[in-house]
Symmetry: C2
Amino acid sequence: MNFKEELTGLTILVDDYLKDYFSRLKSEVPETKLIESMNYSVMAGGKRIRPVLTLAVAKMMSKDLIEVMPFAAAIEMIHTYSLIHDDLPAMDNDDYRRGKPTNHKVFGEAMAILAGDALLNEAFSLLLKTSANAGEKMEQSVKASCVIANAAGKDGMIAGQVIDMESEGKQISASTLKTMHRKKTGALIMASVIAPAVYIGLSGEEIKALSEYAEHIGIAFQIKDDILDVESTSEELGKPVGSDERNNKTTYVSLYGLDGARKMLQEVTQKAVEVLEIFGGKAWFLKEIAYFIAERRN
Amino acid sequence: MNFKEELTGLTILVDDYLKDYFSRLKSEVPETKLIESMNYSVMAGGKRIRPVLTLAVAKMMSKDLIEVMPFAAAIEMIHTYSLIHDDLPAMDNDDYRRGKPTNHKVFGEAMAILAGDALLNEAFSLLLKTSANAGEKMEQSVKASCVIANAAGKDGMIAGQVIDMESEGKQISASTLKTMHRKKTGALIMASVIAPAVYIGLSGEEIKALSEYAEHIGIAFQIKDDILDVESTSEELGKPVGSDERNNKTTYVSLYGLDGARKMLQEVTQKAVEVLEIFGGKAWFLKEIAYFIAERRN
């Protein structure tokens, strides 16, 4: 099986699960407008990189993908809520995301705040229900859920958003930039890889390797984002390009130049691939994801 | 022991736990501004009715209060986040709560959104960590956490906020009003009572009685709120009075008149007390809480 086929297959699995999940909610929950608003952003064309990573770890270890799907879906819900709140007028004030109007442009600010809240709550609701029904795997399920809760919270993703907010319009150091991204986007990417590893019960050595892998692709992801903001087109990206420079934002490109950033991207991608050696050939897809992140056009 | 002493004692237990919890976070988490913003609203003088109910159920059954404290604290964090988001300009746009400036007035809108998000996340983080360390009580702990997640989410508290928002400036029916309050405030009050009951492992009959009790005090709480908005003073209430009428809001008073609302309050309070009969004398404090809710001055 080639990379493109595998990626498409796993993405469809995630999409179908989320589609089913929210159409079930629509028929069960009387507040249909709220569910519509949640569903709108969950289905707004995200790349599903995080949930695909979760499934990929399970598949690499020949485990049942359906068992880790709740972790994958919960992470995608958390990712989605963070985008809805990030786009709000009081935050980044973005009208478009992935070429579509942002949640508050369609449903209004109040509903967007509540839909974000409800998605975060739903993620944990799903994790807890999954854990309650996990039988002898309950402890692993709860611990995997803890990994996600830690990554998403006050010392993970939200902390990253705070640093981002406080850095607005300022030049920041390379180390602050790295910390910000490690928390803002890196933490949830890390959880996507480590939550299934904890659930499956991988060894300390395996978890360490996966965690280094996740750290590197997290950085690669951000460097590539910064590069795309300079060299992509609005059509390809689904959002305006050049916004980092206009907003006087510190990025990997502003700190290291376009060539410097490209070189760093290549290096961290290489490192991400190398640390997976202990898994041998079965890590092929995770390695390809690292290259994919570095080479993507949007 | 009399009611006042017991209430004060349990409130202090909750306050101390939360104070410790957030000062630990302050020393552990680098994003101190975020923790300060979370802490500000958690410590802004809430009555702690929900967490006190949680402890009261455990105490009634002669169980260790410390064991149910994480449920109590998580519920208070969820309650607090909902107030922060509710007060935002895009929602109720309130400048004061309990006589103090609202979170976004002190920390700005963006930080208030993030602090709310972080409190919701922290509540589940605490519940999951508690469950992971619950040993042979893990299943009960996870199930009690599920009760809280369901109460707070898309078919509970958040659904109630959506109904409230959609009812703005409109006259609504008595049944819509009841549904709105059952979800917006009732659901979390219910969880405060049922989560410890599930954790402790009470019988179906006991849980049914407690759930009827919670339903009734939830309604009583709201009727009393509506009455206070008419007959209290701004000083006593810590917020402007008469705002329901000014905002053309449907309330128990607008639907049934002041006397009608008072009569209903008396009836539901009586019912709340009666359903606790199966617990005998040890339910004294829960019964007193019902009277306290009906008689409070703010």
